[in-house]
């Protein structure tokens, strides 16, 4: 048991992937536990609703398991997983075609220095504004500014050249700036 815990802490993603390929269920559980939080956060930021994000998280992790044979190790596993996660989230978003209604009146009443608002209130406003950003631009902002990925990783996760990823992030920021400041 102690050895299992030790392995769970020290095994690299690549080692876990190899163990999963050999049929080791515990390795899959470890990989899921390691990454489910970031997968859920990204799904939630892109989809906007906790229930949708939970469904998308499950789908992304299941898809990762099913497609594990296609992971060649050319990027970090986490980056590869982010690509699946973003794809699942954007597809889900497209399928539902549901956008959260932006409370324009509420946004318009934001004081100039929003940072002075209680943090929870500000966070809600930003989350709502984020849902008004075009999906690709939103995904770029989420990965770059909320999750801290480098542009090279953002580009891989979005399946576009790095210059495009930068452009999307900048346009997403510009839209958010107009909505929030």
């Amino acid at each position: 048991m102690a050895e299992d815990l030790s392995n769970a802490v020290t095994d690299s993603d690549a080692a876990l992937v190899e163990r999963i390929r050999m049929g080791e269920r515990a390795a899959f559980d470890t990989l899921v536990r390691r990454h489910q939080a970031i997968v859920y956060r990204v799904c939630y930021r892109i989809l906007g609703e906790p229930e949708d994000a939970a469904d998308a998280t499950q789908e992304a992790l299941l898809r990762a398991y099913r497609k594990l044979d296609t992971f060649r190790g050319q990027s970090a596993f986490k980056t590869w997983l982010m690509r699946l996660t973003v794809n699942v989230s954007l597809n889900e978003r497209e399928r539902r075609k549901a956008t959260l209604p932006l409370d324009d009146a509420r946004l318009a009443t934001l004081p100039e220095h929003t940072v002075d608002l209680r943090q929870a209130e500000a966070v809600t406003q930003i989350h709502q504004a984020l849902q008004q950003v075009p999906p690709n631009h939103r995904a770029a902002v989420v990965l770059r500014d909320l999750e801290g990925f480098g542009y090279a990783e953002v580009a891989i996760a979005l399946g576009v050249p790095e210059g495009t990823a930068k452009g999307w992030a900048h346009r997403g920021r510009s839209r958010l700036k107009d909505l929030l400041t």
Binding site: G23, Y40, A54, L62, V115, L146, R173, L180
Partner: protein, 114 residues
């Protein structure tokens, strides 16, 4: 694109400290001369404070949703195993059939792949 527009397009990256030295200096020269650009920069700086607050938000899957997800993943794992098993059996059966129909010759792939 005018010079001002070009600098405007660089402002979010400048506020995020993503620019190379040459571009950063160019933006700073323009900022020194333009109150409009300085206002715009201040808006981006506020945006990044807000984004930092959002990034700090504790976003996590609820316990019930997590249990449901782990259950579904476990089912997915075992179903995947079943599918591989069935595929393996079907594949072996197919090879045996080919072997039988081929009058006892091994499938081509086992004869050197020609």
């Amino acid at each position: 694109m005018s010079a001002t527009d070009e600098v405007l397009s660089l402002l979010p990256a400048y506020a995020a400290d993503e620019l190379a030295a040459v571009e950063r200096e160019r933006v700073e020269r323009a900022l020194a001369e333009s109150p409009q650009l300085r206002d715009e920069l201040a808006r981006y700086q506020r945006l990044f404070v807000l984004l930092a607050a959002l990034a700090d938000e504790d976003v996590a899957l609820g316990a019930t949703a997590e249990r449901r997800m782990l259950r579904q993943l476990a089912i997915g794992w075992y179903l995947g195993g079943v599918v591989r098993f069935v595929e393996g059996v079907a594949s072996a059966y197919g090879r045996a059939l080919v072997h039988y129909l081929g009058g006892g010759r091994a499938p081509r792939s086992q004869q050197g792949g020609r």
